[in-house]
Amino acid sequence: MSVGQPPLQLPPKPAVKALNCPKCGASITLRALGQAVAVVCTSCHSILDAKDPHLQIIQTFERITSTDAPLIPLGTRGKIRGTDYDVIGFQRRSIKVEGIRYAWHEYVLFNPYKGFRYLTEYQGHWNDVAICKEQPIVDTRFRISLEANYLGEEYKHFQTADATTDFVLGEFPWEVRVGEQATLTDYVHPPRVLSREKTSAEITWSIGEYLPGKDIWSTFHLAGDPPEAIGIYENQPCPVSANIKTLWMTFVGFAVVLCVLMIAFEVHAKREPVFHTSYQMNPGMPAGEASFVTEPFELTGRTSSVEISTSAAVQNNWIYLNYALINQDTGEAWDFGREVSFYSGYDSDGSWSEGAQSDSVVVPSVPAGHYYLRIEPEVDRNHPRIVYTVEVKRDVPVLGFYGIGFLALLIPPILLTWRSLSFERARWAESDHPPSAILKTESD
């Protein structure tokens, strides 16, 4: 700009402007001067035209029928997504579902560079809301589309209801009126909610994101604690769902490790035979109580599993063996009973068989040392001659352990998945599509 050129006349700096209510004379503060369309007198609650220098009255009330106090006082400043905003307006709106009125609060936020933004609060659940710049895509064949796509993400229809404005305070970027009606349709994709608001004049889409009360409290430096959130809100993120995938991935990881371990032990297991002897029960021998001990055998090497196998050529008969694996040096004993039984025959369906002529059991973690078995066989009173063989091997793979480990690993992800499913059930129970109804429509 060259010298001598007339200076540009700067328009007056806008700031908070003090005016008086034309109805009751109370002072009115305009914070979004030039951008607010309506302002409400804090004293008589008359709604005034904020565009008009004389604050022409838009709506007055015979008497103040209802009142409400914003949890964030008007004029409070807070930083949201890196931008300072002042709380300039507050309204209570409600919907009526099956005769019950549900009310929530909306706060109008303003920044002179960035414009307007909103906060909503319902029973301690908060949402940070902005008007959509991109148009969501809905199926226009239906009056209410059951899905909406916004920025490539699918949102599911949650609820459609007619909302009424019950109470207003402060400034609004539209000509707000008590009694104002709008049809609200919410689509959810937790933690976001996509809302369509239809009045007689226009359709507005907004996008909200769930915020816990404590975030609001720290944003606006409010004293005390935020009201506790009651129930599950439509777009409240499930506290566990974020972890479920990780947990299942962890489970898969551990399961793979287990499998590798299992294969490694399976491959490396020595299966070292340490004892092998056959015994026989002749007919007429007493049916029980005849216990005996075997020759001692030695377990060498590290503490490992020991497999005791019993095979008996029984035919339509059985033998039951009470075993005790006894450490000769320490006297420590492992007691267990095993049965070998085998039955077979023919009937109208053909041949059949039941049981097996051999059995094996694994005793885990047996330290090295000198051992012997105490065996106490039991057989049927009229038994034929039964020959049975007892075989002991050390260092055999214990597969059962892996099964138990596998099941134990499954518990956390299953528990969390179940919690997440019940959370989603509770969420959708409050919607236009309660879970039972969803099942019903699916089966149709």
Partner: protein
Amino acid sequence: MTRPVSNCPNCGAKVMFQWSSSVQTVCEYCKSILVRTDIDLKKVGQVADLPPDTSPIQLNTEGIFRDRSFVVIGRILYQYDQGGWNEWHLMMNDGKSAWLSDAQEEYTVSSLACGPNLPSAAQLQVGQQFKWNGDLYSLSVITKAHYRGVQGELPFQYWDKSDVTFADFRTPSRKFATLDYSDADPVLYLGEFVEFEDLKLKNLRQFEGWS
């Protein structure tokens, strides 16, 4: 750089054009609306006092849109029953002109475009869809606005308007369109929603208590 310089036929103050294609400007001193003729400037009207507005943008605000810098050289101010908005006339560094609109601090940048079969104002209906430049635009709102005033340089004469109809279109992307019914034939502007930060604006107005 030579800029067309002239004197205000009303008050004699120096009037300098920043953009050689400007057709109209407003004398900064006496607020006369001046239109360029082949020979000199002709006063065609007078700007009434503009209402106090709170747009952070002003004449000479500079910014960047799609890697092209621009400077704000003019403005048309509209009002409607829900408030007002500005159409800021931008001079882009490639010599083209564009418009930055700030309706309640919702910013769009658009420029003149061609479209076939533009509907007449009477045919407009919210929800209608039109395909321009391969994109599908849905009519979101029809605004009956009231011309309130002008400032600075404009690429056309614009001073004797009263009520003007605008049709705003949205898309699933940030693309945006406006049909302007200021004149007998509708004029199409295509553009997009922009974030305030992305425009990297300089020389903005300062608001007391805000930075």
